[in-house]
Symmetry: C2
Subunit: 254 residues, 2 copies
Amino acid sequence: MLLEKEAFFVDTLLHYLCVNFTHLFSMIQNIRIAVDAIVFGYQNGKLYVLLIQQKFGTSETYWALPGGLVGNDEPLKEAVQRELREETNVEVNYLEQLYTFGDDVYRDTRNRVISVAYFALVDSSKLSIKADTDAEHAQWIEINQIPNLAFDHNKIVQKAIERLKAKLTYQPIGFDLLPKYFLFSELETLYCTILEKEIDRRNFRKKILSFGFVEETDKISVHNTGRPAKFFQFNTKKYNQLLQEGFHFEIKFA
Amino acid sequence: MLLEKEAFFVDTLLHYLCVNFTHLFSMIQNIRIAVDAIVFGYQNGKLYVLLIQQKFGTSETYWALPGGLVGNDEPLKEAVQRELREETNVEVNYLEQLYTFGDDVYRDTRNRVISVAYFALVDSSKLSIKADTDAEHAQWIEINQIPNLAFDHNKIVQKAIERLKAKLTYQPIGFDLLPKYFLFSELETLYCTILEKEIDRRNFRKKILSFGFVEETDKISVHNTGRPAKFFQFNTKKYNQLLQEGFHFEIKFA
């Protein structure tokens, strides 16, 4: 790191340059680039997003999406994985690019920052673990309980929810949010929760099972108060095989 | 602009700072942010993309997508519209964000540049005009004739074509590429061209007309060598009304 004297010297010089050569510095691009992660989790009929607490200045504490500046030699997708790991301790193998936020020039009041937002879905069984170990800095917040976030992060979360709703109907992403073995009723409830409406459960079950990649297992739920229910699982191999054969996943809701 | 003496002074100082404070400068983000535009046009059964000729160094001339660095106080979407206007003289009202390219750290060999790519569709009647006035710098190049482009621009174009193909099946975007009045056979050919396959023309016609937002006009084609054909038009008002009522456009092709 810098010695204090060096830092002072550089600072003085840069200040001199900025004051005396404003016309030159205005020609140089002065925009920072960041990444932000929207990580969704699901449990017991509720959709969660992973947030962190950030401190700005002396007193204001804001909830925000995990994220930060991109390293000079760092691919975007590695930057977002690193920020997630550093700030929340959550490892996500795959994040999908959502959108780049750079139309609002003042979205960060300190500097012009353009943010490339990524989103990911994680298995619900990971939720409880993380809530324990990182509760102080990172927390799973239910989607209906999201407070005012820093910057334009509420807008980013909103965009991610829209994408999630849309994808649910044309990709079998719901399974990414469930544990390996799930009750069919849990899958139905997940769809209802994310789409924010009731679905025709009989048609839904018929349709999903007709695809052939959701399989009944011989595991039986013992927790349920009603009659015993079978656990199901998603067969990734079968799904990929169907995709190769030109299959298009699609579920319509009236 | 800078006086020569000033420029020399700033240059010397910056060089001094870089040499003596490498450890400081490596901590400062040194990434540029650019926008690139993929503008599609369509005419006579062929899909075109708008390209410009760029000079690098002294002798190398490359075709490239129109685009450039974002201004410090410039929203991303304004930057891409400005670049398009400056480099091709083409005005486009709406561009959709495609993807942000920033995983390949060396996509520009001169500096790290992250590019936010946007795509747009323009009415085919605009194609001939532009080919006349800006032929030297900007040109409509047929999709199958695209040469090796600068940077990773071939990859960007490929991504845009994939998005275009996908959107064609769930949004009525084909009409944006056609003039106000078009023959039904032209719409069919457009779908065949973009999807790169034959479609069932009878089913396609039946399906499209069943939506109710493509209307027969009383204009009749006189150019055709076969029997006279009626011109059609897209009714935007009707389409928006249907959207509000919860209508989802969708065309499937076997």
